[in-house]
Symmetry: C2
Subunit: 312 residues, 2 copies
């Protein structure tokens, strides 16, 4: 009853109901699965845009500008910012989220920061849940913003409908290596801070990499200066063009199936974890097995088999 009421209010566009539902989903509260089951029926309209790139690349500023522009056009926007937060406290110090506060007064833009919360009800589950809720809430665009490293984080962003990869002129070696690692998932390259020295060289390097690549649709490369609102409209045009391409080529269905596949596999993992950590008997069994493994009475692989059989 209460759940259905919450769902109806969020479908009606009630901002507080939307926030409440996301919190419930993120914290894995009782009723959250019922909410998500209900809202799922109303999803599929939002275009999911992954925004990724190296730390210091200006992802938040760019997301802010894109959202502002869309809001001015009367579009409703959801932003999900994935933060690498403390595995101990679950808290996060949100450096440049502060800038995001400018948007919090915009009636068309809705922002949510996600912590990476260790094992119970993980990051992927929470993010997929938030995407669904924003979608059913009526968002036309949902931006999923994450630093471009980490296996779980890359998995999430690469299953967006459109992936915008932010690059910056003149970053160090280490950062270049990170970029290289996930460049293949980009649908659009945005060279931010392109008034800085080396922007042309960076564009040239990306162009070369794109031309050597094997993907059918070569991603466009744009110059933007997010802090000065330059190139934002052009970037939005490219995002919309990519959306049209996805629809006409049939790739949209393919991507969304891939996203669902990832989500369902992750849900199964979470189910297993919750069975281990919430079932007292199994948790005690794990504790005992761990001591045996530590003492070398059994190896971790046989221990896994033993525990696995107890779970199923």
């Amino acid at each position: 009853m209460v759940i259905l009421d919450l769902v109806n209010r969020l479908l009606d566009g009630d901002k507080r109901a939307c926030a409440r539902a996301i919190t419930k989903a993120e914290n894995n509260e009782p009723g959250s699965i019922e909410i998500l089951k209900e809202v799922y029926k109303k999803t599929g309209n939002a275009h999911i845009v992954g925004i990724t790139g190296p730390p210091g690349g200006g992802k938040s500023t760019l997301t802010y500008r894109l959202s502002k522009e869309l809001s001015d056009r009367g579009k409703k926007v959801g932003i999900i910012a994935i933060d690498p937060t403390s595995p101990f406290t679950g808290g996060s110090i949100l450096g440049d989220r502060i800038r995001m506060n400018k948007l919090s007064t915009d009636p068309n833009v809705f922002i949510r920061s996600m912590g990476t919360r260790g094992h119970l009800g993980g990051l992927s589950k929470a993010t997929h849940g938030a995407i669904k809720i924003f979608d059913a809430f009526g968002c036309d665009y949902i931006f999923v913003e994450t630093v471009g490293v980490g296996q779980s984080e890359v998995d999430i962003v690469k299953t967006a409908d459109t992936v915008v990869m932010i690059m910056v002129p003149g970053l160090g070696d280490d950062i270049q290596a990170i970029k290289a690692g996930i460049m293949e998932i980009a649908d659009i390259f945005a060279i931010n801070k392109s008034d800085l020295d080396g922007a042309e060289r960076t564009a040239g390097e990306i162009k070369m990499m794109v031309e050597m690549g094997t993907v059918e649709k070569k991603p466009p490369i744009l110059n933007v200066i997010a802090s000065q609102n330059e190139g934002i409209k052009e970037l939005l045009n490219e995002i919309d063009d990519h959306k049209k391409y996805l629809i006409s080529s049939g790739e949209l269905e393919e991507r969304r199936l891939a996203r669902l596949r990832l989500e369902i596999v992750n849900l199964i993992e979470e189910e297993i974890k919750s069975r281990i950590f919430n079932d007292k008997e199994i948790y005690n069994l794990l504790d005992n097995i761990l001591k045996d493994v530590y003492n070398k009475d059994i190896d971790p692989y046989s221990a896994k088999d033993k525990l696995f059989n107890a779970i199923i």
Copy 2:
């Protein structure tokens, strides 16, 4: 027979057998579990040191200097570098790994780069496998080097025996936020490039954060200049002091139990994934369910239950 031969050779210190075993474990080749079961009996002597920090912080250079110093003291060192690599190709462009090549001629230092390989036989399994093999191979120290972001990556580094957190003076907002997210897992802070402007301020900030923290053993804060080999011996002393503390306080057992717990839970997840992707019937079932989910005939959460029941 062949497996036992490989294990015996690696236990005897055969470098090629060691490399071979790690490759098998990383690629989840047939026989890899048998190898790991065998080597597990011979583990427990190596001290596992996690090296983490923001991109551009000089992790590889510092790891290089530490390893060189240990080698000079007659110690055997294993290095596992976790790279955020392409989720598509599995390949990686190893920017500053090139520097590591200086070490590859050192007979006491053994280096391994790990890719993050999507779903089959994941990163955590491969890294834990490599740690075991290096340990049984006779390494006195094993460095696990990773950029300090990403849920899986943080999970791995935080279960090391000793965690060294590298900081650098004067990094941007975005990077500060990342640091903040994982600062609580540091056992030792190393401010690298401490000849740069702002080193004192950075040290002051860390000191304040440490003093406000709730951990019992306050982590020491060291100034180092890895590129000039300054502060390396002092850092090694701190690592050894921490090791002594772990043993005398009983925390070493606690940490190793936590590492085993993480490993076993991850192994169970991998088992589930391999059952989904390697069992043709289940894979087909997933494909069919996905279409139903896509068409909204069923929601992802009920789909998960259906698939879960088919697996067990």
